[in-house]
């Protein structure tokens, strides 16, 4: 299988001198096409920093990164282009824009990618229908439950047909029923869209849904 994301010797340090913290320490990682990977580990072990590096939000101090077979170099490439074309993000706290409806929140991602409005509206409607929110298209985030917000968040992540979705603790603010429903939805979406998904989670119960679990400790991968 082809690697969608491949990192070699990825290192990220925050701070300088005695106050410096090595958040990710010489990590080698490979995530293959259509894989559902879970990154697990204690708080502060470097999971979020690692997906930020893999998602081109942070740039590594050292190491090489390839996405969809192409090397990433922040010095010569605009990382925002990579993020909008290749990557989707789902955040722990959903981060939907409060002044937009569910439909518009999904459309924003396509607006950023300069998709025509009519086309964006059709795709957003289609995605929200897939995540079971066809009746909630015109509701604002404040009118949606936590589970519904997270579904909108997944629909937004899928909007630009990314190669990989990084989800940071997507079930952390959901109850167990909502978590189960979301994991079922993630499995369905993965089948439907053939998208690679990497999930950061503490939730041991979600392990069974993963193709592979990557265990981290002190900035390093200790098991995979």
């Amino acid at each position: 299988m082809a690697a969608i994301v491949e990192g070699n010797g990825l290192t990220k340090t925050f701070g300088t001198g005695d106050a410096s913290v090595v958040a990710v320490d010489s990590v080698d990682i490979r995530i293959e096409e259509s894989e559902l990977v879970m990154l697990m580990g204690d708080s502060g072990c470097g999971k979020t920093t690692l997906i930020s590096l893999l998602g081109c939000i942070l740039t590594p101090d050292d190491g090489d990164l390839q996405i969809d077979g192409k090397p990433i170099n922040a010095e010569v490439q605009d990382l925002s282009v990579i993020r909008r074309e290749k990557i989707g993000f789902v955040f722990q706290l959903f981060h939907l824009l409060p002044y937009l409806t569910a439909l518009e929140n999904v459309m924003v991602a396509m607006d950023i990618a300069r998709t025509k409005t009519a086309e964006a509206e059709n795709r957003a409607t289609e995605l929200l229908t897939q995540v079971g929110l066809s009746e909630r298209l015109h509701h604002r985030p404040a009118q949606l439950s936590g589970g519904e917000k997270q579904r909108v968040s997944f629909a937004r992540a899928l909007a630009n047909r990314p190669k990989i979705i990084f989800a940071d603790e997507p079930t952390a603010n959901l109850d167990s029923r909502q978590s189960d429903n979301l994991m079922n939805l993630i499995q369905e979406l993965r089948q439907e869209h053939q998208t690679t998904i990497a999930i950061v989670t503490h939730h041991e119960g979600l392990k069974e849904n993963a193709d592979r679990v990557i265990q981290m400790k002190d900035g390093r991968i200790v098991a995979t």
């Binding site: 979020t48 939000i57 282009v81 909008r84 824009l97 924003v108 950023i112 964006a120």
Partner: protein, 376 residues
């Protein structure tokens, strides 16, 4: 989604409205202050221009026409009435003094214009009533027992026959002249020069200036320069006099207002910049999310700048409209020049957008990592 920035503005409408209103008020104030100064300049000019005089003469070292006092010396008058380049017998003494007459029991500000009836310095005719009685003697002495009479500016609202009190003396209104207000709508009271000297200058033979006309064939500037070369008098042309009077009555006293206008511009810029900056701080998480999901700096910047431009445009336009409304309703003469208002609007727009741009530039430095923390 071309309306994304509008949706954000609607969501934060209270702040948007307050910002636009803040700009509106500041722009109105800038234009009104300018309009008040323009009005003062127009009013300062109109009396001077209405006299028909070409040269303005005062004693050397007196401070100049409209400012100091000059002794009326018969020799000067005789010289000026036959002076080179001057229209024979056109020279006329003029008192132009601030006064506080009591009108209908209320102390009012006014300018007393004392001149010789039939000569330069005052109206040739009245709208209603008659002109005041002319003094009989050209010389300061002997005592001339003419009645205390005044022709008032029509805008004072006085009736013929009414009396006003000036320096504890009753002065009867005998005529109304066409409105010719001086700076800050100060009404003019026209009376005989000898009565003005009696009431305001302690019956001394002083005037503020002498005015005269030049022959049509001659250049007033050259005549004024020639006369000025005589070391006992200062002679100014109409242009110089206008410059002096505007400097003395408008520009110098209004220096602080000019400074205030610049401050208001700065305040408008700072207001937009601060509110954009504070809004940006509030939206840090949103900006981070937009960047995390692929929004370029240009995309985020354009969202913020569209808002700044729209708020500034609405604020400036409302400010323009409001300033004209306030000018029409103002209790004093306010003259907002159209071209000046367009220039003020453009500068204000640039100041507001410029400060908004600086705040927006700061906003786009938000680290998209922030999307992984906190709530929107």
């Amino acid at each position: 989604m071309k309306t994304l920035f509008l949706k954000d503005m609607r969501y934060r409408q209270a702040r948007v409205i307050l910002t636009a209103l803040g700009i509106t008020v500041l722009i109105s104030l800038i234009l009104l202050l300018g309009g008040i100064m323009n009005g003062m300049r127009i009013q300062a000019r109109q009396y001077v221009e209405s006299t028909g005089a070409d040269v303005w003469i005062s004693a050397e070292g007196s401070g100049g026409a409209f400012i100091g006092f000059s002794m009326v010396v018969e020799e000067y008058m005789a010289f000026l009435n036959s002076g080179p380049g001057l229209v024979p017998d056109s020279a006329s003494p003029l008192v132009f003094a601030q006064a506080r007459p009591t009108v209908r029991g209320k102390s009012t500000k006014a300018i007393v214009v004392g001149y010789k009836l039939g000569q330069l310095g005052g109206p040739k005719s009245v709208l209603e009533g008659r002109m005041f009685t002319r003094s009989n003697f050209e010389d300061y002495r002997p005592e001339d027992p003419i009645p205390y009479e005044v022709v008032v500016d029509e805008k004072m609202g006085l009736e013929i026959g009414e009396q006003i009190t000036l320096s504890n003396e009753k002065v009867r209104v005998v005529g109304k002249a066409k409105s010719l207000m001086f700076v800050l709508d100060t009404p003019l009271l026209f009376m005989d020069v000898r009565i003005a000297q009696k009431l305001l200058l302690g019956n001394t033979p002083h005037v503020n200036m002498m005015i005269a006309q030049t022959n049509k064939s001659d250049q007033p500037a050259q005549i004024a320069a020639d006369l000025d070369a005589l070391e006992t008098i200062e002679v100014r042309t109409l242009k110089q006099t206008l410059r002096d009077i505007i400097a003395y009555y408008v520009d110098e006293p209004m220096k602080a207002v000019q400074f205030l206008r610049v401050m208001l511009w700065l305040a408008a810029g700072i207001l937009v910049g601060m509110i954009t900056y504070v809004t940006m701080l509030e939206k840090t998480q949103e900006i981070g999310v937009l960047k995390a999901i692929g929004g370029s700096n240009g995309y985020v910047m354009s969202l913020l700048l569209k808002q700044v431009v729209l708020i500034s445009t609405v604020g400036v336009l409302l400010g323009l409209i409001l300033s004209y409304v306030f000018a029409a309703a103002a209790p004093i003469f306010v003259a907002i020049h159209f071209v000046e208002s367009i220039i003020v609007a453009c500068i204000s727009f640039i100041v507001c957008c410029g400060s908004g741009y600086l705040a927006a530039r700061k906003a786009i430095t938000v680290d998209p990592m922030i999307a992984f923390r906190g709530e929107i």
